[in-house]
């Protein structure tokens, strides 16, 4: 495996496809179809698409949780599924639901990744406390998840993902279950933390405004997980360009897509 240069993409998909066998025997279902893209270091890429277009399947492939049927996936130069253990501590994931362990307090949930990675016990606790404080959860360290609100639980899950100091953050609609005000605050917090800590992030969403607010780049998927539209958004992007991009995205999403 060659050494990565600083210019190498952090995530590379080359003609990646994924098919699932239908349980009802109606043949195979194509969730991802010859998907190719690259994501560079420090980029925040928002992936947008309708429900069922393959965003989460792509997400799970990047995370190494499922194996692609065809094509090549490279994350930090390695295959995330077949070199699963290489990625210990390198990938942090924030899921759509908080997925907190109900039998662990907020502090212990944040510490989970650090314990799995065999970090020093005292340091792990300090790191976990610091992240809870950064996310406004001081005083709730010993609360169990059932005693926390939805927004607070999602903050704990964000703290858990950041605490292991990963190179890459993967987020699958992490704010979709929250009310708009809470989601707005957490979005701003999330972007600030990602930029401050120089992470690479892939952010899946089905909300156009959220994608344009968070992403340096927005990729719009059509079913089955093909890039139908892509745009770059930066500090230099004018308001007019943003409006045009918004309209383009609406148009692309409105196009009739391939049936199941």
């Amino acid at each position: 495996m060659r050494n990565m240069s600083s210019a190498d993409p952090v995530i590379r998909f080359t003609d990646v496809s994924k098919t699932f066998r239908r349980p009802d025997g109606r043949g195979d279902f194509v969730a991802v179809d010859k998907l190719s893209f690259e994501i560079g270091k420090g980029e925040i890429v928002a992936v947008l698409g309708k429900t069922g277009c393959g965003k989460s399947t792509m997400f799970n492939i990047v995370a190494g949780l499922i194996e692609p049927s065809f094509g090549e996936t490279r994350v930090i130069g390695h295959d995330p599924f077949h070199e699963f253990n290489f990625f210990r501590g390198k990938i942090g994931i924030v899921f759509q639901n908080d997925r907190l362990m109900p039998w662990r307090s907020a502090l212990d949930n944040v510490r989970l990744g650090l314990q799995i990675l065999d970090r020093d016990h005292k340091q792990a606790e300090e790191t976990a406390r610091a992240w809870l404080k950064r996310l406004g959860l001081s005083g709730h360290e010993n609360d169990y998840p059932h005693a926390l609100s939805g927004g607070m639980r999602q903050r704990v899950s964000i703290a858990r993902a950041f605490a292991v100091d990963p190179e890459i953050l993967l987020c699958d609609e992490p704010f979709s279950a929250l009310d708009e005000m809470t989601a707005r605050d957490l979005r701003a917090e999330f972007v600030r933390l990602v930029r401050q800590n120089n992470k690479t992030a892939v952010f899946i969403t089905h909300q156009i405004n959220e994608a344009m607010e968070i992403g340096d780049r927005v990729m719009v998927f059509h079913r089955p997980a093909r890039i139908a539209y892509e745009t770059r958004l930066g500090a230099a992007t004018t308001e007019a360009d943003r409006r045009k991009a918004y309209e383009d995205i609406i148009r692309v999403l409105s196009v009739e897509q391939a049936p199941d």
Binding site: R88, I93, W103
Partner: protein, 256 residues
């Protein structure tokens, strides 16, 4: 102690008192060898507990129950792990366990007497064979109830198999294990008495047989109460462990 808990205890005590009162009334109208008075039964019960040689029988039965349950629990856990990891293993092992589950306890007693010589091994064999299927299936069900979401979240950190077991699998299956113990405890207490009645010297079952041969109802009730008290104490202990182990669970105020 909360008010509702106190009320539950008082209501339970009241129902026991009513039962005792009904028995006492019966003892006034029937011969004492059929319905001995409640004070006589209580006196004999206490006598068993304070007489060393008699208490030894109670402790022997308790040891046999725990020995059988622990053995079945360990073996059942191993089988559940094997079945959980292999569909082929499940296809071979599960039907055998289901078959064993259908065999009455008394049949296992007869088999044990015919096959084995040693009393303790006979009792252990009977206890294990009657509780092993339930332990295996209950632990397997607890393992399969593990949340896929939590599994994927934990796997994202790339844990070792031991770490996964310690941090996710054990906490997930603890409620199922505690339930399995509570269910199998009652079953084990009934089975051990049958095993001791037929194939052992010593123990509560053996003493029950003696009381039956002496036509001593007060003695039979007293020895029965030993077993009932033992089961109640152990069950309350398991309940206390369960309350502590599951203290993280939210409880609706409606349930309190």
């Amino acid at each position: 102690m909360t008010n509702s808990r106190t009320m539950r205890i008082l209501q339970a005590a009241a129902s026991m008192l009513v039962l005792a009162a009904v028995w006492q009334i019966f003892s006034l109208f029937f011969p004492h060898f059929l319905f001995p008075p409640v004070p006589e039964i209580l006196s004999r019960t206490v006598n068993i507990l304070i007489t060393g040689s008699l208490l030894a029988d109670v402790l022997l039965t308790a040891a046999r129950i725990f020995g059988g349950l622990f053995s079945a629990f360990i073996l059942g856990s191993l089988l559940a792990m094997v079945i959980g990891q292999s569909k082929t293993a499940e296809n071979f092992i599960a039907p055998v366990l289901t078959f064993f589950q259908g065999i009455p306890a008394l049949s296992w007693v007869v088999f044990a007497i015919i096959w084995f010589h040693g009393t303790e091994f006979r009792v252990l064999f009977i206890m294990v064979m009657t509780t092993l299927p339930a332990f295996t299936f209950q632990i397997l069900d607890a393992f399969r109830s593990m949340s896929k979401d939590l599994f994927e979240m934990t796997m994202a950190f790339r844990p070792s198999r031991w770490t996964l077991f310690r941090f996710l699998i054990v906490p997930t299956i603890v409620p199922g294990i505690l339930t399995a113990w509570k269910v199998n405890l009652g079953n084990a207490a009934r089975v051990v008495v049958v095993a001791e009645l037929v194939g052992a010297t010593g123990g509560v079952g053996y003493e029950l047989l003696r009381q039956q041969q002496l036509f001593n109802m007060a003695g039979a009730m007293a020895w029965t109460l030993q077993l009932v008290l033992f089961v109640l104490v152990v069950q309350q202990t398991i309940n206390a462990i369960e309350t502590w182990a599951l203290r993280y669970r939210a409880v609706s105020e409606r349930l309190m």
